[in-house]
């Protein structure tokens, strides 16, 4: 059997969103991951699907799964640390690949594979989720309306109807975002800040006022890569969390759960964050819990010699039937949309790139609207 898509990390939160979206659209999908029970319901419900066990540390298991699928589109939903390796394998196998993004060094390495991908006439798109992802495409849309772009502020802000702590995404990633030094681009140079020293309280449409911090994200690199020639000098990435979530995350950090030092628990060495990850798996989502999000990009530049400011926003409401996935739908669903665009040859650009280029913006926004995500340009809906 030839599968339409192969999904790596299909048993994780994002992977399962992509799997569900593609299966509901009657595609055949090969599910690759470690924790089969988490996708058993898909395997039972849909005929055109199968499961393959893969181990990220054993890259040949990934190569074998891709070959087995006979698919020409790989959707990598694994942790970002594996993105380069997966791109490398796809380059060798000659299959298209998209992923949800990673850190700047990993992104740089992926971009270095551009000649290989071009030669094989395939595309490798990195960072196609919410931010990075929707944010980059909104910037692409906006940048076309500027003669020059000087400054970009980008970020996300979210909230929930029930003010209780729910693990927003991988708790390890959350804690790393709050503690790892965050790059900002200032006058075309990278500077690094301690996230918790950058707390500001900002208002965002649809969400309200909440705390924001600078966090490490690949956009600082990719924005500069694509818009440096347009005069871009300053880039800042803001992560906004509602008070009930922000307080808990900060508390966890202050209490020592971000500490990289292992704790000796009666002879077994355990990192506090690993303990936290295992413990929080048991944390139940409150009944009726719903999340909403605002993904935003503010561009400051010039048009016809006049200063121009544009705010692009993508408002993500709770999607009926997807409530348990929370805000994660705006990461998984764009990946599904882009994968389909690659499959249908709507995306024709070849090589390795991030979605500031190569993605037809209007069509992409239209697809978002079908999933109830509205895109605003200076407060006006454009999709």
């Amino acid at each position: 059997m030839t599968f339409d898509f192969v999904i790596l990390g299909a048993t994780g939160m994002q992977g399962r969103i992509v799997v569900r979206d593609l299966l509901e659209k009657h595609y055949s999908v090969l599910l690759c991951g470690r924790d089969k029970p988490r996708v058993e319901h898909f395997l039972k419900k849909y005929k055109r699907t199968a499961f393959r066990y893969i181990e990220a540390t054993k890259i040949n298991t990934i190569a074998k799964a891709i070959r087995y699928s006979k698919s020409n589109v790989v959707i990598n939903c694994m942790e970002g640390d594996w993105n380069y390796q997966v791109f490398n394998v796809c380059g060798k196998l000659g299959v298209n690949c998209i992923d949800l993004g990673s850190e700047i060094p990993e992104t740089k390495k992926q971009f270095s594979l551009n000649p290989v991908f071009k030669k094989k006439n395939i595309c490798g798109i990195t960072g196609i989720g919410s931010v990075p992802g929707i944010g980059n495409i909104m910037l692409h849309h906006a940048a076309d309306k500027f003669d020059s772009v000087h400054e970009i502020h980008v970020g996300f802000a979210w909230d929930s109807n029930i003010k209780e702590f729910v693990v927003p995404f991988s708790i390890e990633s959350v804690i790393e975002e709050f503690t790892d030094r965050a790059p900002i681009v200032q006058n075309k140079h990278f500077k690094y800040k301690v996230p918790l020293h950058t707390v500001v309280r900002e208002y965002h449409h649809y969400i309200g006022k909440e705390n924001e911090i600078f966090v490490r994200h690949p956009e600082q690199y990719t924005f500069l890569h694509y818009f440096g020639h347009k005069g871009l000098k300053n880039i800042k990435f803001y992560a906004g969390f509602p008070d009930h979530s922000f307080k808990i995350i900060v508390s966890l950090i202050k209490l020592g759960f971000a500490d990289r030092k292992e704790i000796n628990y009666f002879g077994t060495k355990i990192r506090p964050v690993y303990f936290l990850k295992q413990l929080l798996k048991n944390l139940r989502i409150p009944k009726g819990y719903k999340e909403k999000e605002n993904l935003w990009v503010r561009i400051i530049g010039r048009k016809n010699r006049k200063i121009k400011v544009m705010l692009m926003e993508c408002l993500v409401p709770p999607l009926k039937g997807w409530e348990s996935a929370g805000c994660n739908i705006d990461t998984g669903l764009p990946a599904s949309i882009i994968a389909q665009m690659v499959k249908k040859a709507i995306i024709t650009q070849k090589g390795c790139f991030s979605p500031e280029v190569g993605v037809p913006t209007q069509l992409f926004f239209k697809k978002l609207r079908k999933r109830h995500m509205r895109v605003y340009e200076n407060g006006r809906v454009i999709n």
């Binding site: 307080k247 808990i248 704790i263 628990y265 355990i270 690993y274 303990f275 413990l279 929080l280 944390l283």
Partner: protein, 391 residues
Amino acid sequence: MKILVLGHGAVGSVLTKLLHKEKAVTAVLSADINFKEEKITGKLHQMHMNLKDKAHLQEILQKYHPDLVINASHPSFNATILEECVKAGVNYMDLAACWEPDKNKRAVSPYKIEQFDFDKQFRERNILGLIEAGVSPGMTNLFVRQCADELDKLDTIKIRLVDYSGTNELHFAWSKEALLDEINSKPLVYKDGKFMIMEPFSGVEKYAFPKPFGKQEVSLICQDEIGTIPFFVKLKNLDIKDYDTQVDIHKFLYKLGLISKNKIKIKDVDVSPFEFVNKVLPDVSFNNEDPKFSKAQFAFAVEAQGKLKKKKRTIRYFVKFPKQKDINKLGLGANFISYPTAVSAKIFALAVQHIKSQGIIPPEALEKDVRKFIISELRKAGHVQITKEHW
């Protein structure tokens, strides 16, 4: 009076200093696992002791013949120390109970005050075991008795605590393990003459404290007072609620399961979140000198509702301890929790010589003249204010 203080932690260290200053105290023996060498300074004698080593404890009791042994370490050592005190015939005092579930099917209360198991032996040896003799439990129990004596019929007692640290950030003003255990424990209430186990942080209400605290949100906490008071004071209802500026962080530790005792599997090892988190969390991190804690303060209200001369009457005692900035001036290295506990324990310790009772007794069972002595000593303590209202 020669007093042996076991444990030199947040409370024990302050208690030792306070006792050292008392004329009635001729010698203070302070024993702790962290003392590496024996040291004698004036009437203060420091020595190493591992409380798991019963023989060593007995050896110390036989060698120094203290008039009173105070357990200022973890309550899990209560039983061991009580046992050795019986053998040596020495009076005993502690600050809290272990407060474990009672497995006895006939038990009236779901939690057990383990010290009462030694009552018979203490009586036989003609010695006293004054238990739960800190501030809460301790002074709170004493004021409950005071209220009961002032009414013809007592119906309801509300104990309302103020744990105002001046910040909502986590810190441990006393034993980390004991605090985590307290947060993790289900509160007990006494309602219509029956004990009931409640959910932590339930029973939320607004309680109007006297100034400067005013109306504040309080919720049920697990406190030892409920374990003894209904057995010594006739009443229908009793509950203990707390206004704590750290309540959000306590709730979060509890709700996230971080201090659960139900083990989880990590790396094929059964890990108790309670034990693991105990290792992760910082030790007593309350910095007395930090300006953000300068207004930190502990207080308690004991409100009694009942009848006096056939009319409804409410009596309320409100005891307010000094602010952190005033405690700092005393030069004891104490914080807003350890000072009230230690100063209360010191007064109870001094009162032991006036107590005629024998066996294991909590403060609410003390004789009237002893209680009078304790309250007058509390009034004399630096910056402690006791107010009484009735309506």
